[in-house]
């Protein structure tokens, strides 16, 4: 697999160079300055954007494992009792999806804020606070769904359906709580004007993914439990 430097250069600039601090030996901000380099490209995605996909892949695999466990467990024995989902779950779904919308509004505000003159006060964090509020409402709503099930005498170990209900909602809820912690971090960075665009973008991928995952889980619970 030997190559020589005499080969014609394959420089494929995709984006004009952006100024950035010198540092990590990363090649993203440096266009090849001589023709003898066989550079792949001058731009690579930011690690946080790749990183968030790594996180989402891990979460997807975990929930795929839980789903397969649910399907196998349902077919394993005739002790599967139908469970009526609390209505509040559907309202919660709307709340979580609304929080995705407010997050997108926040991203646009932040984009304008970053591009515009700093003297204009656009309060870019306002929609992020709304997103956080909706996230908290969602978590409280999920908790109240648990309380409703408990009032019907359905506990974690009552039957396999209730086990999966509590388990899946709890694990998803923990991920949403993790998202809220991430959101607090984002808001703090924004208020100090040290937020990176990629951090906000990566966070938004995570948050939207939580919404999509919840819709999937709701469908799964609705159809299977």
């Amino acid at each position: 697999m030997a190559t020589t430097v005499q080969q014609p250069p394959k420089v494929e600039p995709r984006r004009s160079p952006q100024p950035g601090p010198p540092g990590n030996g990363g090649f993203r901000n440096l266009l090849p300055n001589d023709g003898s380099l066989r550079a792949v490209q001058d731009h690579a995605p930011a690690p946080s954007k790749t990183g968030i996909w790594v996180v989402l892949a891990a979460i997807t695999m975990s929930f795929a494992a839980f789903t397969s466990a649910l399907v196998v467990r349902q077919g394993a024995a005739p002790d599967w009792h139908h469970l009526t989902l609390p209505n509040i779950l559907f309202w919660n779904t709307l709340v979580l999806l609304a929080s995705s919308v407010t997050l997108e509004l926040a991203r646009r505000r932040v984009a304008v804020f970053m591009g515009g003159p700093r003297t204009v006060d656009l309060s870019p964090a306002r929609w992020l606070y709304v997103t956080a509020f909706l996230g908290v409402v969602f978590v409280i709503g999920q908790y109240s769904a648990w309380l409703q099930l408990r009032s019907q005498g359905l506990y974690l170990a009552t039957n396999p359906n209730s086990s999966f209900f509590y388990l899946l909602t709890a694990i998803h809820g923990l991920h949403v709580l993790g998202g809220l912690i991430g959101l607090t971090y984002v808001i703090r960075k924004l208020n100090r004007v040290v937020l990176r665009r990629t951090t906000l973008d990566s966070f938004s991928y995570y948050w939207h993914f939580m919404g999509i995952l919840w819709v999937y889980l709701l469908l799964l619970l609705w159809m299977r439990l």
Partner: protein, 594 residues
């Protein structure tokens, strides 16, 4: 606010305080060494546990002085009970598989060398990287804790098969809190490894230096990349599995425990669970895990061999593609662990086919090694000897894999010592030889001093003879019907086999003792070894372009630019028969790939 996350994330100043420098360090090199130290501690624990097992198997009633200190109930009169034998066995496997074979070749060397091989200053998310180590360390401590709980650590084996593992103390000694502690430790370990993958994958994809295309990455970095992808997708499945296990154990759910199970004359309150479900979830992780253990070793020994052969492998790309094929196929073959589980026989065939298929990329990798070695004037040193030993062990273990891949033969050999021989040769000892090869090769770079090569060679030859003496006779034992996991061989047909076990025990004690040569060499060289030059082996990859040991930011603020493929040996350059990756010198290559 420009898109500068990579720069800022990877750029942190050198620490000044002791704690930041050596304990809660963000430096990938320190974290790599911490992982190495953890692996070393775990391998010593695992080895001592294997000695206890082996002595018991050879001389069942022999009292090992002081053993009662480990457990009063488990080893009354310094002789272990049958249950405690299983507990020791479980801990041996757990420490070795998770805290040695996953930690050392992958997390330790990967952490140290991935940023250097890619030309980066550090990992993209140093805080997560630090958390990765400390989470793994907590998992290690939690696992150790199980030696100190009431009925001792779990006895369920590293596979922790349900339903017995899911029932609690009623299932017998070692099935109580030991299982919960084991499962908790493994869950924490999974988090640590996911943090690791979170750094490795973006580093390799996004932080490569100028000119460093993916194909210019050295083979170990390719292996770590492939392993990271496997770790990402398998540990994230093990985690839900252990969560379900813990819930069955402590919360009374019935994921894995079937109905009407009577144990110790007690009807269990669970209903309807699927015991096979645990096996499916576990082995979906478990089989990729054995490749997580071995693939980094493949990359490491290829790197070592190429440097010592002074020529590249026959094909860099096919080697990488084959390692990738191993990773993909490893998810499709896991059912071959379950041929006797009561699974549908059609499924057995379905899992048998990819199991036979996976021998193809394995064979390609071995043939590339052997073909490249053909006619090579290899430099013989401790690192290259261990690399050659790796190939020998991998072939030996692989050949028995052909037999075990077929359900009709595997059913006979299942749970016998034949299987023990097979997996120890491949994933265990071969992987350990990979770690040794990497250690002798990279020690000068990691610690800035040379190891004693003569002691290294002695260590190799005695270990090589030793491991064959331990594991070769196990094939015979397995064919003779000797079942594994038995703590004594009282059945008539097994009686004549005890002599073989005694031989294996002596070999195990001998091979274990030989490892102290390595530990002596390691410690002595660390403090009193000859100072290492920057490039002691005349290597070409980026780790050899920087001082030994590397400075805090790896390249001393230099913007690395890569001009060459990773293994430009056999060329004529101003430095000799090789040209460094970051050397702008134009050379005429000899081993050009068609």
């Amino acid at each position: 606010m420009h898109d500068t996350s990579a720069h800022a994330a990877a750029h942190h100043g050198p620490p000044t305080s002791f704690i930041r420098k050596h304990i809660f360090s963000l430096d990938h090199k320190v974290i790599g060494k911490q992982y190495y130290g953890l692996g070393l501690a775990a391998v010593i624990i695992g080895m001592v546990l294997s000695w206890i097992m082996r002595i018991h198997l050879g001389w069942t009633n022999y009292a090992i002085p002081g053993l009662h200190l480990l457990s009063k109930t488990g080893a009354p009169g310094d002789v272990i009970t049958p249950e405690y034998y299983l507990q020791v066995m479980t801990m041996h496997a757990t420490f070795m598989v998770f805290f040695v074979l996953t930690v050392a070749p992958f997390a330790a060397f990967g952490n140290f060398f991935i940023p250097i091989h890619t030309g980066a200053e550090d990992m993209p998310f140093p805080h997560f990287n630090m958390m990765s180590f400390w989470t793994t360390f907590v998992a290690f401590c939690v696992m150790l804790l199980s030696f100190f709980v009431g009925d001792g650590p779990t006895l369920g084996g590293w596979t922790q098969y349900a339903p017995l593992s899911a029932l609690g103390p009623v299932a017998g000694p070692g099935q109580g809190s030991g299982v919960v502690i084991w499962a908790t430790s493994i869950a924490i370990f999974c988090v640590g490894q996911l943090f690791g993958a979170l750094n490795f994958i973006p580093n390799i994809l996004d932080l490569r230096c100028k000119g460093m295309s993916m194909w210019r990455l050295p083979l170990p970095t390719w292996a770590w990349f492939i392993t990271s992808c496997m770790g990402l997708t398998s540990f994230s499945v093990l985690m839900p599995a252990v969560i379900l296990l813990i819930l069955d154990h402590v919360a009374g759910t019935s994921f894995f425990v079937p109905s009407n199970l009577v144990l110790n004359d007690q009807l269990q309150p669970h209903s309807g669970g699927s015991t096979l479900l645990w096996q499916h979830l576990f082995w979906f992780f478990g089989h990729p895990e054995v490749y997580i253990a071995i693939v980094p070793g493949m990359g490491i020994i290829s790197h070592v061999l190429i440097t010592n052969m002074r020529k590249p492998m026959l094909s860099h790309r096919i080697l990488v593609y084959s390692m990738g094929a191993l990773a993909v196929l490893s998810y499709m073959v896991y059912g071959h662990h379950m041929f006797v589980s009561g699974m549908n026989p059609v499924s057995s065939i379905a899992f048998s086919f990819p199991t036979l298929l996976i021998t193809i990329p394995s064979t390609i990798i071995v043939l590339i090694w052997i073909g490249s070695l053909y006619g090579a004037k290899i430099r013989i040193n401790a690192a290259s000897l261990f690399a050659l030993g790796f190939i020998s062990l991998f072939i030996t273990g692989g050949v028995s894999g052909f037999f075990l891949a077929q359900p009709s033969i595997q059913i006979l050999l299942h749970a016998t010592y034949f299987v023990v021989a097979h997996f120890h040769f491949t994933m265990a000892i071969a992987a350990i030889f990979g770690i040794f090869s990497g250690t002798y090769f990279w020690f000068p770079k990691m610690w800035g001093r040379m190891m004693n090569d003569t002691l290294g060679k002695v260590h190799f030859w005695l270990s090589f003879i030793g491991v064959y003496a331990i594991f070769m006779p196990m094939h015979y034992l397995g064919l003779a019907g000797n079942v594994r996991r038995y703590q004594a061989f009282v059945v008539d047909y097994m009686q004549p086999l005890v002599g073989v076990h005694q031989f294996i025990t002596i070999a195990a004690l001998f091979t274990g003792a030989v490892q102290f040569i390595f530990i002596y060499n390691f410690i002595h060289s660390r403090f009193w070894g000859e100072p290492a030059p920057d490039n002691p082996w005349q290597g070409t990859s980026l780790e050899w372009s920087i001082p030994s040991p590397p400075p805090h930011d790896n390249f001393g603020g230099r913007h690395v630019v890569v001009y060459h493929d990773p293994y430009q040996y056999g060329v004529q350059s101003s430095t000799g028969d090789y040209v460094m990756q970051d050397s702008p010198e134009q050379v005429k290559t000899i081993n050009e790939e068609p």
